[in-house]
């Protein structure tokens, strides 16, 4: 990925993304790379959804891993315990998570700043604790096994197959995100981010748009959660922990808020980072914390927008 691609116009960006994800496997020396790459793709899809809320809508959520975990457990329980076909289970979980987000979104998104952070954090933690405690349904802290993902009798098996599922989903998610941003809803959202009162004054129903984008980002997380459960074959409540929620927001902010490709870049970097830091062993947490602080101090707008600004400056100077 070079800087020129990131600077390309919107349509060029989507084509370039499709090209990158199609060609990336050529550089994978072994199967382990596929496994890491699938996780990166999945995180990227969640972050593209979360970026709509955080980056464009300007609303923070410190509980999105909860929605991811609900999707995962919904699929695991519906397919495992009740024998529902995986696709139907995925759709039902997504619908249920969407409904939940819609219902709690109303009162929560009236809150601002730190109060909103507190409320979303609370919802995430409550979901995490429920998943840990209701062991008769969820298997408790030990986790639960999940069957393979089958569509019309065909199973998605192996990391290679999952790579293409993830890649397709990411391109689709980015396409939705790019179109949404330029739709009336996207414009309304950006107006909310700029000034909520200003948006209201010109007639934007800010509450409605905030709830809609919150719901949409929760559905993104739920769908990916379902796929993750099937791909992994085993899930524990910790996929919905507070730390996971933080990780997701950090990916969005690190890559660059209000930048769809920034969210993708942030997700990929932060998924690969632990693999690279593995050699630091005991110092891993310190390095991760240091990177989070350093990026925000020196590039408060995130990687991609900061790079773009730096390139622009160089061009202007030349």
């Amino acid at each position: 990925m070079n800087a020129a691609m990131m600077l390309a116009p919107r349509t060029g960006g989507l084509a370039a993304l499709a090209l990158v994800v199609s060609l990336a496997p050529l550089t994978f020396p072994n199967a382990y790379f596929y496994d890491v790459a699938v996780n990166a793709l999945f995180n990227a899809v969640v972050c593209v959804g979360l970026n709509l809320l955080v980056g464009y809508g300007g609303q923070i959520s410190l509980g999105h891993a909860g929605f991811f975990a609900l999707g995962a457990y919904g699929s695991a329980i519906l397919t495992g315990t009740y024998g529902v076909p995986p696709v139907a289970a995925l759709a039902a979980s997504a619908a249920a998570v969407g409904a939940l987000a819609f219902v709690v979104g109303r009162p929560i998104l009236r809150l601002k700043g730190h109060y909103l952070a507190m409320a979303t954090l609370g919802i995430g933690i409550i979901i995490h604790i429920v998943l840990k405690t209701e062991s008769q349904v969820t298997g408790g802290p030990d986790g639960i096994g999940v069957d393979a993902f089958t569509v019309l009798g065909l199973a998605v098996a192996g990391d290679k197959a999952w790579y293409w599922v993830g890649a397709g989903l990411l391109v689709f998610a980015v396409w939705i995100s790019l179109n949404l941003i330029d739709s009336p809803m996207g414009r309304a959202l950006r107006a909310v981010h700029g000034s909520e009162v200003g948006a209201e004054v010109v007639g934007v129903d800010t509450g409605r748009y905030k709830v809609l984008v919150f719901t949409l980002s929760a559905v993104f997380a739920s769908v990916v959660g379902s796929l993750f459960a099937h791909k992994n074959g085993f899930i524990t409540p910790d996929i919905g922990s507070f730390f996971r929620s933080i990780e997701l927001v950090t990916m969005v902010v690190l890559g660059g808020m209000a930048s769809t490709f920034g969210a993708v870049v942030g997700a990929v970097i932060l998924t690969l980072l632990p693999q690279l830091l593995a050699s630091f062993e005991d110092y891993e947490a310190m390095v991760l914390g240091g990177i989070m602080m350093g990026t925000m101090i020196f590039m408060p707008k995130g990687l991609l927008p900061s790079l773009r600004a730096a390139l622009k400056r160089r061009r202007a100077a030349a």
Partner: protein, 291 residues
């Protein structure tokens, strides 16, 4: 019946006092800088861990406790100097990520300096339970509540009776006006981090004999402290204390009468319910934004 209830209230007051100290820490930093310091829980952990290590090495408790408070305050000041001050003017989300990054960094550092094991500290004055109206009260609980009250009284004196404390209050009301009358706002920011670190450390030291401590002990304590601060209305000191006690007692009652598995969820259920109906907490100012 009543004895059982009293027993839960004692337990609630003990943990509530710690939440109140942490909540106050959040409030003080928020007032000085509008930053929510997610590393507040790590102050509690560092205070407890340092004291436990020094006492285990044979240093007398009062000396160890004083040294631990000092170490934690230094960490607080360093956090302000190297992570929060350079990011001045960044938006809320960026600052949230910075302080969360700091908390992960400090946990990682604790893992390197110490280990992943639990560390214990002997109770300050024995473990003979005191009988009160049929319930039993551990001496260490008295220490927790007593020390918390003393610290809160000291803070009250600092903010209301000393010039610098008043300067800090003035800064929280109106930063620009405070600057115009010659208050060193930078110093205020640094002192606020030192004070919050002190509150965390003191809480960590008095609670460690009851709960033990390890490098992750600060996570939940910090989040509960944040709930306490939000419950009372961000930036309201008295609110944070009341919020802490409410969270602590509700938690103890719920885990006693309902389900102990959901003990940790109670704080967050309460906070969600309160925020649904009172979006600025119990004692928060009704927000009116200037456009």
């Amino acid at each position: 019946m009543f004895a059982e209830f009293l027993q839960y209230v004692f337990a609630g007051l003990t943990s509530g006092a710690i939440y109140a100290l942490a909540g106050l820490g959040f409030a003080i930093i928020y007032n000085a800088s509008h930053v929510i310091n997610f590393a507040q829980g790590e102050f509690i952990m560092i205070g407890g861990m340092s004291t436990a290590t020094m006492v285990a090495a044979g240093i007398p408790l009062p000396v160890a406790a004083a040294a631990a408070v000092l170490v934690t305050m230094l960490v607080g000041v360093a956090l302000e100097k190297f992570a929060v001050e350079p990011a001045k003017g960044a938006d809320v989300t960026a600052i949230v990520i910075i302080t969360i990054g700091a908390s992960i960094f400090l946990r990682g550092a604790a893992q390197v300096v110490w280990d992943k094991e639990f560390h214990a500290l002997p109770a300050f004055s024995g473990e003979t339970p005191i009988a009160v109206l049929g319930a039993t009260l551990m001496p260490q609980s008295v220490w927790v509540v007593g020390v918390s009250m003393a610290v809160i009284a000291l803070l009250w004196w600092f903010f209301n009776r000393t010039l610098f404390g008043k300067a800090m209050l003035a800064t929280s009301f109106n930063r620009l006006a405070a600057q115009l009358v010659g208050i060193g706002v930078k110093k205020v920011l640094m002192v606020s981090f030192a004070l919050s670190a002190m509150l965390g450390a003191v809480g960590g030291i008095v609670v460690t004999p009851i709960t033990f401590t390890n490098y992750e002990a600060g996570i939940m304590l910090g989040l509960k402290g944040f709930s306490a601060a939000v419950l009372g209305g961000l930036g309201n000191g008295l609110g944070a204390i009341v919020g802490g006690l409410v969270v602590g007692i509700a938690e103890a009652l719920a885990s006693g009468y309902l389900s102990s598995a959901y003990k940790d969820a109670i704080a967050f259920v309460i906070i969600l319910l309160v925020l649904f109906f009172m979006p600025s907490g119990l004692f928060g100012k009704k927000g009116t934004d200037r456009v």
